[in-house]
């Protein structure tokens, strides 16, 4: 790369921008909340396909059944609808057959029930709990891995960047009222892995350059290292995004939320490795001396 970009001059601006977005995300999650799907809220989901029926017909049949909160929307191709019914006590054993029978009887159409899911209140709260544990555990595991491989300053920096990615991704889901289900948790965990991957590549170079040029300060080292690895950062983001876009556009409705979360995560994760994880090293006052103590550990 001939044209070196002066990243460190933009760090302050980027950090203010990140902080604002981070706070907005937290506020939205606190006050608007996340739109949990039945995996985490409990309830019934039915995907059906039928010719010549519309959402309002389905809605009126279901409303006559006194099911509580009912949500019907078009889903994918013509004639496909997605029904979501709120959980009412623990009567899940019968509710599905009642809804199916009622719809088949009242709507004069051949209905193909393509997907039926029911999650009880106990299971949904367990799933939510284990989702939160999984994300927390992955953050802690990353913290320790980087701590072992680098120094504590690096592991703090990368964890702050990861936290930033997870919160903002979920914040955008809250702002856009997109559904959070099991596959979104999988996406968030993958984002954690991907963002970490990106951060590690830059950190690795920072460590190497700190050893090589002990005259330069950390900002200059960060600049140099980001530029050194920039081509790789861009190429890998592009290939990953190409694959994800392909899933987003062609992979069908079920994978849409998942691939959207991943696309967001890759973009935010790439940004954060450069603009959050790297300035954090300056914040934690990393110099070439930081590495000296444990020099022998670094190069295996």
């Amino acid at each position: 790369m001939v044209n070196k970009f002066n990243f460190s001059s933009k760090f302050k601006l980027a950090n203010i921008f990140s902080l604002i977005f981070f706070l907005i995300s937290i506020l939205f999650m606190l006050f608007k909340g996340l739109n949990y799907g039945i995996d985490f809220k409990g309830g019934t989901l039915i995907e059906l396909r039928a010719n010549n029926i519309n959402a309002s017909e389905i809605r009126s049949v279901l409303n006559s059944m006194d099911l509580g909160d009912v949500n019907v929307k078009k889903f994918g191709q013509e004639g496909d609808h997605l029904i979501k019914v709120e959980q009412k006590e623990n009567d899940g054993n019968k509710i599905i057959s009642q809804i199916k029978d009622n719809l088949s009887d009242s709507l004069n159409a051949e209905i193909n029930f393509r997907r039926v899911e029911n999650v009880g209140p106990k299971v949904s709260s367990e799933l939510l709990q284990s989702g939160i544990i999984a994300i927390s555990l992955s953050l802690i595991a990353m913290l320790f891995y980087i701590w072992i491989r680098f120094e504590w300053q690096f592991s703090m920096g990368s964890i702050i960047a990861l936290f930033h990615d997870v919160v903002i991704t979920l914040g955008i889901f809250s702002i856009l009222s997109l559904e959070i289900n099991l596959s979104i948790i999988a996406a968030v965990l993958t984002i954690v892995g991907y963002s970490m991957n990106d951060t590690v590549v830059i950190y690795d170079r920072i460590r190497e350059n700190l050893n090589k040029y002990n005259r330069l300060n950390i900002s200059e080292i960060a600049d140099l290292s980001i530029n050194d690895t920039l081509a790789r950062t861009i190429i890998t983001s592009v290939t990953t995004l190409l694959a994800l876009l392909s899933i987003f556009i062609l992979g069908g409705e079920i994978l849409r939320g998942f691939s959207f979360a991943m696309i967001l995560g890759v973009v935010i994760g790439t940004y954060s490795s450069i603009f959050v994880a790297s300035p954090m090293l300056k914040f934690f006052k990393v110099t070439y001396k930081t590495l000296e103590k444990e020099d022998e550990k670094i190069v295996p």
Partner: protein
């Protein structure tokens, strides 16, 4: 890093050959005679039903504690312990006794203690008591006593669930214990689980009890099949446990579907005696607390064969016979999670998953060719082999492929090139300062090695956590993502490096660009 010994090269390609061989098993039309391994399709791809059932042992525990009442009272009497105020409250017994020390000694005896057996595995008694006031004690099951009851109820339930499902005849059902209270059932290809849910929703506790004339003490008021209110004695003449067979039938007299049953020897004796003594009275056949029918006893039935009629449709008679054959569940089962995917949605998912895989793959390949030319070709070869290995390893593990699993493969395609990109970019840098091309490639590979490893291990950690916490489809994603990382490392550091070495070592000095 560019030197490969003959033996190394041989091992690399041997591994590739074997894994590809396994991958190819999936594309054979006929079953292979020698190795029968294939990637399984998850329920979300082939269609089918997933059910999670939970046992509720509350009523069972109440019943078990009631069973302790008589033996405990006998213990008091036989040992001259004065007691008063004996009460049952849900899952515990309350009693006032003076001589608690004497009781303690007997209660905690390990010698042939039939009332309160010592459970060796847990080093604990089945029951425990605590003093509530000076002379009142509360007796209840100990923690391990409850655990024992729960475990045996769960084991028994799984056995009966399996019998019922096998009897219905669905193909290749999976029935597994999940945790301490749950049973996981997967029924591939099943379009509508309602019938199975109905069959599993009944405990099928069958009792034969006499109908008494008046509502004296010890009767229950039950509604018969044709709406009349009957006083049914609480005393059970015979229960479903004595049944050895039950079959649906069409009755000769009125062409109605009925269920005929056969009793074991002991049951036949009991039933014979009861029917002999009570000719003329009515016998209520009670299933899960509801009367199926209450026929009059016309004559003594001593053969051990009987018949239940009760306005059944033939399907109902078939299901009742099935339930009676499979035996009663010790506790009711509740469906706490259910997911059913129809076969056509599964097919659509396979189609869209495959399409996005192919398109994503082609996009990445074209991009790499454009970016790295000849080395792009190497990266792409590595990518193709990577996919092949991924499929091969999934086959060896007989893993389950789900829709998110396909997404994991596509993601692997996107991320797999990263290892080669890291290496190639590093070599580019080295080429700027290094005069010897071979040396530049060598140091490029060596220096990138740690970074590649670090970067991939982080994703692997995420995949492992996802695997241990995720369920069903999400687990499938974790599997493909995790294995994808391993195959990526292998192809980048062995195959691509070997191919690179062939290109570099066989070309003239200055014509290599990356």
């Amino acid at each position: 890093m560019l030197n490969f010994s003959k033996i190394n090269t041989f091992i690399i390609y041997l591994i590739l050959f074997i894994v590809s061989l396994f991958a190819s098993l999936n594309f054979q039309k006929k079953d292979n005679l020698y190795i029968d391994k294939k990637i399984n399709l998850g329920l979300d791809l082939q269609g089918g039903s997933y059910l999670l059932l939970e046992i509720n042992s509350d009523t069972l525990i109440q019943k078990k504690i009631q069973d302790k009442v008589i033996p405990i009272k006998r213990l008091f009497r036989e040992n001259n312990i004065n007691y008063s105020n004996f009460k049952i409250n849900k899952q515990s017994l309350f009693v006032n006794i003076r001589d608690i020390d004497k009781f303690d000694l007997l209660f905690k005896s390990r010698n042939n203690n039939l009332i309160n057996p010592y459970i060796d595995n847990y080093r604990s008694f089945e029951l425990e008591y605590k003093k509530i006031s000076n002379d009142q004690i509360e007796i209840a099951f100990s923690k391990f006593g409850l655990l024992t009851i729960n475990n045996s109820a769960l084991k028994q339930s799984i056995e009966i669930v399996r019998r019922r499902i096998d009897d219905v005849g669905t193909k290749e059902p999976t029935i597994l214990q999940r945790g301490e209270k749950r049973i996981l059932i997967e029924l591939p290809g099943l379009k509508d689980p309602e019938r199975i849910k109905n069959l599993l929703g009944k405990t099928a506790q069958l009792n034969f009890r006499l109908v008494s004339e008046n509502s004296e003490f010890g009767t229950d008021k039950l509604i018969s099949e044709n709406g009349e209110e009957l006083n049914v004695s609480k005393r059970i003449i015979m229960s479903g446990e004595s049944l050895i067979d039950a079959q649906p039938n069409i009755s000769n007299q009125n062409n109605e579907p009925t269920v005929s049953f056969t009793l074991d020897r002991l049951g036949a004796q009991k039933f014979g005696r009861a029917t002999t003594d009570n000719v003329g009275k009515r016998l209520a056949i009670v299933l899960d607390g509801e009367i199926v029918s209450a026929p009059s006893i016309n004559e003594a039935i001593t053969s051990g064969n009987g018949m239940i009629s009760g306005n059944f449709s033939f399907q109902e008679a078939t299901d009742l016979a099935l339930l009676l054959r499979s035996g009663a569940l010790p506790t009711p089962l509740l469906v706490v999670e259910e997911r059913t995917v129809g076969p056509d949605l599964g097919e659509d998912s396979i189609k869209s998953g495959t399409l996005s895989l192919i398109v994503g793959f082609i996009l990445v390949i074209l991009f790499m060719l454009y970016k790295y030319k000849i080395f792009g070709l190497i990266a792409n070869t590595a990518l193709i082999v990577n996919l092949l290995m991924l499929v091969g390893i999934l086959t060896i593990l007989e893993a389950t492929l789900t829709l998110p699993g396909i997404a994991g493969i596509i993601l692997t395609v996107g991320m797999a090139v990263d290892a080669n990109v890291l290496i190639f970019e590093r070599i580019r840098e080295e080429l700027k300062t290094e005069k010897s091309i071979i040396h530049a490639f060598d140091t490029g590979y060596a220096k990138a090695k740690i970074t590649v490893l670090d970067a991939n291990i982080t994703t692997l950690i995420a995949a492992i956590i996802l695997f241990s916490f995720g369920s069903g489809p999400v687990k499938g994603f974790a599997i493909t993502l995790g294995i994808g990382i391993i195959t990526t490392l292998f192809t980048a550091y062995f195959l691509a490096r070997h191919l690179t070495s062939l290109v570099v070592l066989n070309s003239k000095k200055n014509d290599i660009k990356i």
